[in-house]
């Protein structure tokens, strides 16, 4: 890894703090009834998205789960418009109709925000196919929760990604609970990062609490 400059360190710090403060405010607004539907906060996981995005190129694509507010902030999107989307306003990223779980910004190569567990994985793999098809040298980063790792379509996507050698990076954010069920009770073999090995996809485990 390249040595981080002072501005890199401060960028990491400010992005993580921005996500934390944003989510605290979201929680308050949810409690006050300004945010309808579900509202999944990213508090505690800030190091994951900020760490990964420190390596991103401008035109790389990102697709993630329903715990997406922090991902949008880290991608450099406008917090005003993210907050507008959460509160269902017309100037939000999905015109106020997507809410917490379904925010998109195609012009920033951010493809959501997906409410269905695991659904973003075939989508991200398809976006990676587009990058390969267009030979544009960009990659797609697909975030996956631990719950989705027991989801059939994830492995179908892994198979094609490996078979066609797609420029795809899969990041499993294992926060130890999928929809409230602990990984130990839901997954046979808890080494989720090894599950791509059968397809020849190399996996690596990193501490998601430490951005360095």
């Amino acid at each position: 890894m390249k040595k981080l400059s002072k501005s890199d360190h401060l960028k990491i710090y400010s992005n993580m703090v921005k996500i934390r403060r944003f989510e605290e405010r979201s929680s308050q607004l949810y409690g006050m009834g300004h945010i309808g539907g579900f509202c999944h906060l990213y508090i505690g996981q800030e190091a994951v998205v900020v760490g990964v995005l420190m390596t991103i190129k401008k035109n790389d694509s990102v697709v993630t789960t329903y715990r997406d507010h922090g991902h949008m902030i880290a991608r450099g999107l406008d917090v005003k418009r993210i907050m507008s989307e959460l509160t269902g306003r017309a100037n939000g990223y999905s015109a106020g109709k997507g809410g917490s779980m379904h925010m998109f910004s195609k012009e920033n190569n951010f493809y959501g925000g997906h409410g269905i567990v695991g659904a973003q994985v075939p989508i991200g793999t398809g976006i990676a196919f587009t990058h390969k098809y267009n030979s544009d040298k960009n990659i797609c980063r697909t975030y996956i929760g631990d719950g989705a790792m027991n989801n059939g379509q994830v492995f179908e996507a892994f198979n094609l990604a490996a078979l066609w050698k797609l420029p795809s990076l899969y990041i499993i954010e294992n926060n130890k609970y999928g929809m409230g069920t602990s990984v130990d009770r839901a997954a046979a073999g808890s080494d989720l990062y090894k599950r791509g090995e059968a397809f020849g996809i190399k996996g690596e485990i990193v501490d998601g609490m430490n951005v360095y």
């Binding site: 993580m16 703090v17 999944h40 505690g44 509160t87 306003r89 109709k97």
Partner: protein
């Protein structure tokens, strides 16, 4: 709360609070003398303002018009 997190014990929550990823960064920055506490506090204050104004902006913004009910809907 959208997620009251009843599945996680208080002890586990405390354990993770004690390894807060933001503190990890803060400690690294201070320890290596990359920036001073004062600089970090200044950044923190700016962010609080930015988030506050984003929330105010959102709450003052208009809801979608009724006709939006029928756009981007596929059957």
């Amino acid at each position: 709360m959208s997620d009251p997190a009843k599945y996680r014990t208080k002890a586990e929550l405390e354990e993770y609070k004690n390894s807060d990823p933001i503190d990890v960064v803060k400690n690294e920055i201070i320890k290596k003398k990359i920036a001073s506490n004062k600089e970090l506090e200044k950044i923190g204050k700016e962010i609080i303002e930015e988030v506050k104004s984003a929330a105010d902006f959102a709450l003052e913004s208009n809801f979608p018009e009724n006709k939006e009910l029928y756009t981007d809907v596929y059957l």
